[in-house]
Structures are given as C-alpha cells and as structure tokens.
C-alpha cells in the first residue's frame, strides 16, 4: 500500500520505505526513527515537521548515512535514491553521493564552518572532490558560488569568524549547492538566525532551488515556513511520519489527531484567548516508547486498541497518508 504512492506523472527521486534508526546506549536502545515512509519527486520540496526529538535530524543524517556509528545504526528499511538503495551502498560509494547528489545545510551556521579555513577553500573543497577540475578552477567556481549567494568575491579569502550568522549560512548554502545536487536537505536552516535574516535566507534558498531545479527536504518546526516554500508535508512524531500529504490537502484537511493538535496549538491573531491550546502531555521517551501507537497517551480520540496495535501507513485519499487506527477499516 505504502509502496504504491502515485507520483502524478513526475519522476520519483527519493523513496524512503520503513526506515528505522536506533542508537544503542548504556541506558537502553533509543528508537529515534521507526518505520518511516515518505516519497519525494524531482524538484519538489517536502517539509519534515515535528517537535524537538521527533527524529527529524536523525532521518536527515540517515539519508546521508552520517548517523554517528557507534552508537547509531540503520536497523531496517530502504532509502531509494533514483531507485538505488543507499542503505546497501559501501562507504566509498556513499562518498561520491554526499556533496554531489545529496547535500545538507545544517542548523547552526555559527558552528558548521571550519574556523581555520577560508570560506572560499571550504566551497572549493567540495567542487574538487566531485568535479574534474584543477584547484584554480575550483577556487574560481567557489567565488562564483559566493557571488550567487550574495557575497562579494573580495571577501572570499576571509575566515568564517569574519562573517555574521546570516552570511555564514549563505556560505553553507553555497557549499551545499556547489555541485548542483539533486537533493538538498536543509535542517532547520533558519532557526539560529534573526527573523529579518530568516526571510532573506529563505528567499535565497527558494530562488536557488528553482534555478538549480533541486529537490529539497526542509526540516522545520515552523508551519509558517512550510506554508511558504513546501510542496508536500510530512508530520513526524516519535520517529515516524504520522501524516504525509500535499501541502494544500494537509492544511485544509488534516486527519491525524497529532496534526490537528499541531494546528490547534497555533495562536490565532483574530481571537483573543487567555490560554493557548497545547497538545497535552509530553513527547514519549524514545528509549521507552509506549506500546501500540506512540501518540495514544496524548490523543483526544484514543480507542482501547490504540495501546495494543501499531497503526499501519494508510492512504486515506489520493496521496494522503495517515498512520492512525481511526482510519484503519480492518480493525
């Protein structure tokens, strides 16, 4: 069922099926990602939304096979990129994919650049790795990339500490896009930035994404950003995608109780309320997930079988998937 997502005529770029990533620690196994499914077409943007600790970053690192091992390990599932399973690739094969076919923008631009290397060299490094160019050509292309993200060429030889947070994130974007990857993973790229800079950086990413025709996974907990730039949305809870649909469909017609709770917890500017409406309770401890549906202790529509049966990924309407027993006809 989940395997038969219709792609509406577009070519599928990334198809994640049943991905599970666990961290084995002394305090127990942290089940960071559990049976995660979603699918992304070429040139599309998907928003990966969830609370802190929902497994968004682990999913992203898993796609790049950069989950720190030990303690982390991909314990099951497939990550199909252009039909090839990344989980089965060797480390050497992955190195040709990282930076070239998939690249990543990290959350904190203040720490994601090497402080002892000029920014130009950091961009040239990725170009030299994946393209057949001389060092001089790579440096020249690095300066062109800097120009593209709005940093003047004469600042190319400067070091990260000489740039502001927003400028550094531009450098990180230049590194990520330098080899024109088919897939860009952006892990909360604007969370660490000032609000005014956030808008600039988002605008830049949106434009460059269109220019390079790059597909993007936008990890965020900001539904505003999702509304702004995403085509599809995957809502994550406790390491799993609980609802996955087209952006308009999901905003208009949310199904999963968690998604509904998320929308309800956004304050409305037109109505004054004394208390905000958060989802009651806390995210479960990933070393000790509740049995059955991990959301059932917080769910308003909880049924007796919710604590016993693990919900399957169900297509409730075309290209709208929900992982909830309320929609399971077989129950």
């Amino acid at each position: 069922m989940a395997e038969n997502i219709k792609s509406g005529g577009k070519e599928t770029l990334l198809d994640i099926k049943g991905l599970s990533i666990h961290y084995k620690t002394e305090d127990g196994t942290v089940r960071a990602v559990n049976d995660l499914n979603f699918k992304l077409n070429k040139g599309e943007t998907i928003g990966l939304v969830g609370e802190t600790g929902a497994g968004k970053t682990t999913t992203a690192l898993g796609i790049l096979r950069l989950v720190p091992d030990p303690p982390g390990k991909i314990v099951g599932g497939e990550i199909l990129l252009d039909g090839e399973d990344l989980v089965k690739k060797t480390e050497a094969e992955m190195r040709t994919i990282r930076g070239q076919k998939i690249s990543m923008i990290f959350q904190d631009p203040m720490t994601s650049l090497n402080p002892v290397m000029p920014v130009r060299d950091q961009i040239a490094e990725v170009i030299l790795l994946h393209e057949k160019v001389t060092a001089a050509e790579a440096l020249k292309k690095a300066e062109e990339m800097l120009d593209l993200v709005g940093i003047r060429a004469e600042r190319a030889k400067e070091y990260p500490h000489q740039f502001s947070g927003g400028m550094r994130q531009r450098v990180v974007i230049a590194i990520a896009l330098a080899c024109n990857p088919g897939l860009l993973i952006a892990d909360e790229p604007t969370t660490a930035l000032d609000v005014t800079i956030q808008a600039q950086v988002l605008e830049l990413m949106k434009n460059l994404k269109q220019e390079f025709n790059t597909a993007m996974i936008m990890i965020t907990h900001d539904l505003g950003i999702v509304a702004e730039i995403c085509d599809k949305v995957a809502i994550m809870y406790a390491g799993s995608v609980v609802e996955f649909a087209d952006k308009y469909e999901l905003f208009k017609n949310p199904k999963h109780p968690y998604t509904i709770g998320l929308f309800n917890s956004i304050p409305d500017i037109d109505t004054d309320v004394d208390n905000l409406k958060p989802i009651k309770g806390l995210m479960p401890d990933p070393t000790d997930l509740p049995p059955g549906c991990p959301f059932h202790p917080r769910c308003d529509n909880v049924k007796p079988e919710c604590s016993q049966k693990m919900p399957q990924n169900l297509e409730v309407s075309e290209n709208h998937f929900v992982k909830c027993l309320l929609f399971d006809d077989r129950r």
Partner: protein
C-alpha cells in the same frame, strides 16, 4: 597582517624585560638570604677573619641589598654575568655557553620524540575511542607519566647498554649517545601530549564543521588530518611549549644518570657550592629560554588560528 605580527613580537620581547628583572630580583633575594658567606666559601673554612672581611669589601658584599642588585643588573646589561666562585674560576658566560647547547639539543630531541609519538597515538586513540588500541594507549600513557625518569633511565642502561650492548650508557658525544636520554626524557612528555591530543581531538570530531566536511563526501582520513587536527592543535601546541620550556632548564636526574654535561646538573651543583654568580646566570638563562618558547607558542597560535591572528591587528 605580517606587519602586525612583527609589532606584536616586538611588544612581547619588550614585555620580557620586566619578567627577567623580576626573575633576577627573586633569585638575587633568595641567594641573599641563603645561609653561607661567599667570601668564606672562596677562601675556605680556615681562612683568616681579616682576609674574609677584605674580600667581602672587595666583592661589594657589604653594600646594601639594592646597591648590590642594581650593580648586578648593570653588569648583566653589559653581558657580564660575573665569575664562578669555584675553581677554575671561569666566567659564568663561558661555563654556561659550554653547557647550554647540550641541554638545548637534548630538549629538542626529547620534544621531537614526544611529538612524533604523542600526536599520532593521540589521534588514533581519539578516532578509535574505547577500542583495544585506545585502552592500551591509555595504560601506556599512564605508565609514561608515572614512571620516574631516573628509574626508566637506569632500566634502559641495564637493558640496552649492559645486557644487549647496543648503545653507550653515558656521555654526550654523537647520535648513539643521544638516543637513550632523549627517549627517557621524552617518554613522559609523549604521554602528556598523547592525552592532550586525544581529549581535544575527541572534542573537535564532534563539532558541526566535521559533520559538514563528511557531508561534502570527504575521505575520513582527510576529515581527521585536514579539518580536525588543525583545530585541535592549539592546546597541543601549548603543552608541547610547556614541556620544551621546562626541558630547556635541564633535566637534572637524567643528565646525572647518563653523565651528560648539561645545564641542569651544573646549576644544581652551583647551588650546592653557593656559587651565586653561576646560579644567577643559569636561572636567568632558563627564564629567558622559557619566555622565548612561550613567545614562539603564541606566534604559532597565530599561524594556526585566524581568529587569534585577527586579534593582533
């Protein structure tokens, strides 16, 4: 940029002057309050009291403390460090310049050995944390710092000189004689450098920019040696500098065991013989050498880290 660095070096050299004056004052004061009369030492226990008094006056020992002190400082500025009290009464300058090169050579060899052992072992320990290799390296490191130099030196002599007969047991007359003392002294430094490299590397490889380098598709070895190592070097360079500076003061026990004509042993001898000019000159040279090593370390910082370099503007 370079001009700024020169200005900084010049400033730091200027700052050495008060440091050295302070060192001189302290040593001079300690010498002054130490029991024992240089005149008596020079003339012997059974000397005539009048002769002693005459010599004291001649040497200026009856003058007030600060008069004596500034006279000494004045002499030092003219590079006159006085004459040794002990026969054959050579000038301190002569005595020290005979011995300092040996000490410097020994210190340099030991530190080179320590760096060659410590940094690579530290890196491997960090990249393979909690592996068998890491555990073995940790135990060896602990032994390295814990084993006293003199004991290790004696074991080395027994094994490599007496039993196996591979290397000479004493002296300082060519590469063969350098090996055992350099390794003896270098072992504990290597252990300290290894532990420091390990802990800073462990911290650095968890940084976001290391993940960025991996996400570029970079080889793990390049990630470690190009991206991580340079960022981990600052604390390592600090430790190497401290070890080297310390060794320039001479390694008294090791010099004694291997009969090396170095500065440390000589100065200790001078202290026992109340040979004040030699003690003063020797300690002054050690302080100067230490200050220079510190300056060198600070300049190295600037080459390693552009953030520090930009502070020199």
């Amino acid at each position: 940029m370079n001009f700024c660095l020169y200005k900084y070096i010049f400033k730091r050299l200027g700052m050495m002057v008060p440091v050295l004056l302070g060192v001189m004052l302290i040593i001079f004061f300690i010498n002054h309050i130490t029991p024992g009369d240089p005149a008596v030492i020079l003339l012997g226990d059974r000397a005539d009291i009048q002769d002693v008094e005459n010599l004291r006056r001649e040497m200026g020992l009856n003058d007030p403390f600060f008069v004596q002190f500034f006279r000494y400082v004045g002499n030092v500025i003219r590079l006159d460090f006085g004459t040794s009290f002990v026969p054959p009464h050579r000038t301190v300058w002569e005595e020290i310049s005979m011995r300092f090169p040996t000490t410097m050579q020994l210190a340099a060899l030991s530190v080179v050995f320590a760096i060659l052992m410590g940094i690579p072992l530290g890196i491997i320990s960090a990249t393979k944390q909690y592996s068998i290799f890491d555990n073995i390296a940790t135990v060896i490191g602990l032994l390295g710092v814990s084993i006293p130099n003199f004991w290790q030196g004696m074991l080395f002599i027994m094994l490599f000189s007496v039993t196996l007969g591979w290397l000479p047991a004493a002296g300082w007359s060519g590469p063969q004689t350098w090996i055992l003392p350099a390794i003896t002294i270098g072992t504990s430094s290597a252990a300290v450098i290894m532990r420091m490299t390990r802990s800073t590397m462990l911290e650095v490889v968890r940084q976001d920019y290391i993940r960025t380098a991996r996400a570029k598709g970079q080889k793990e070895s390049t990630v470690i040696y190009k991206h991580a190592l340079k960022n981990a070097l600052i604390p390592v360079v600090t430790v190497v500098g401290l070890q080297f500076g310390g060794l320039l003061g001479g390694a008294v026990l090791t010099e004694t065991i291997f009969s090396i004509p170095g500065l440390g042993r000589y100065v200790v001898q001078a202290v026992n013989q109340r040979d004040y000019p030699t003690v003063l000159g020797g300690v002054l040279l050690m302080a100067l050498a230490f200050s220079f090593v510190n300056l060198l370390v600070d300049i190295l910082y600037a080459f390693i880290d552009p953030r520090i370099r930009s502070q020199y503007k």
